[in-house]
């Protein structure tokens, strides 16, 4: 039980940092192409401990993000839940990949995420730029190996 608590505390702390990074003030040009850091952190932890960190975490952090970012309630919750479900389905395969293949498999997880957000954007008549979305996906894939190493270090030190 102790280890469960340890994992939960570590993940909640990291997710809090993820939320802070998500609302960190940036210039306007970077604002539209910033990667979904909170989601990337969630994906990592879902792959590490799929029984503990799954849809509940995704839904709750999505709702918190919606409230903080003044977006329609449920927007990020919907996108995060679907993405983390995909991660939860395919994590045994993704875990076995080498780090280059992991980047590709992240692409396969993130494309449905942006597809969901695009569908919701269309439904709610929110304007968006498709090139910004593509650049955002590319940036997330590029920063993934670094983030992965960092989070693995944290996991080995504090939550294993």
């Amino acid at each position: 039980m102790v280890i469960f608590n340890k994992i939960h505390i570590t993940v909640v702390t990291l997710l809090f940092f993820g939320i802070l990074l998500n609302i960190l003030p940036l210039p306007d040009t970077f604002n539209s192409i910033k990667p979904p850091i909170l989601l990337l952190i969630l994906i990592y932890w879902c792959m590490a401990y799929p029984n503990l960190i799954n849809l509940t975490y995704a839904f709750i952090s999505g709702i918190i993000l919606d409230i903080l970012l003044i977006m329609p309630l449920g927007y990020n919750a919907l996108c995060y839940t679907t993405t983390i479900y995909l991660t939860w389905l395919y994590y045994p395969q993704i875990r076995l990949h080498t780090s280059w293949n992991k980047m590709l498999s992240l692409l396969l997880i993130l494309v449905p995420y942006f597809l969901t957000s695009t569908i919701v954007n269309k439904m709610l008549e929110i304007d968006y730029n498709i090139y910004d979305v593509i650049i955002s996906i590319l940036i997330s894939i590029i920063i993934w190996p670094a983030l992965f190493t960092m989070l693995r270090f944290v996991r080995q030190k504090y939550a294993s």
Binding site: D28, N51, I70, L73, A77, W88, V120, D127, Y128
Partner: protein, 273 residues
Amino acid sequence: MNNNLNFRQSKTVSLKLILFLAASIFFLTIDSELKISNEIRKNTSHIISPIYSTAELPIEFYHVIDNYLVSKNNLLEKNKILEKKIFIQSGIIQNIPLLKEENIRLKKLLNSSEESATSKILIAELIKVNLSPFSNKVILNKGRKSNIYIGQTVIDSMGILGQVSEVNDNFSVVTLITDAGHALLAINARTGKRIVISGTGDNRYLKAKYISLNEDVIEGDILITSGLDNIFPEGYLIGEISNVNKNFQKNFLDVTANPSSSLSSNREVMLLW
């Protein structure tokens, strides 16, 4: 133990998926009417505003360092420019009481009602957190304690910025005029014709809607608020028409305008009463 942690066992996940998807779609559909998220923000504003200020810390730190490192010469030069600006502007302002009186006199001649001038101005600071790229909203550091109300006009030194759309205890949310869901009634200063100006979602452009093909609109026309929408007071600058595109296949003109206020770069704004 480790096996328990690392491999899939729980069978409730698909149930959770259905539950959460249904919940988020339900929220998405009813939130625009019931304003649940507004209520949540209102009740938890004492938790949310520390999070905002924590996220703002790096940029505050940058500003402190920047202020500390700025050289004396730079400050003196800036001071000189600002003094010159104030000198010129106070010269221009001298005319205004005269113009006001003349305006009132002329309006009396025309038997039209007097306009009430704004009585109070409050300066508020933007909380520079990074909101979603899709919504054109900003957060102010003043809330219900400063008697801010919903629908209040927010301006900066160059023109209209937007209106207050949500008031919480210690912060409030402003919808900018460039928000895709925002529209206001403007007047073309040259011709006196009314124009509906709506946002595009891009901070650099506004869209003028429903202008018929034969109407007199040219590039460089200045748009001011009309006061007819009962939200914005009359006579504040909105922007300038930048492009008029006449396409006879369509029913209306394609008109874009540039907002005059610096929507993406200011730190301080004014609230009008």
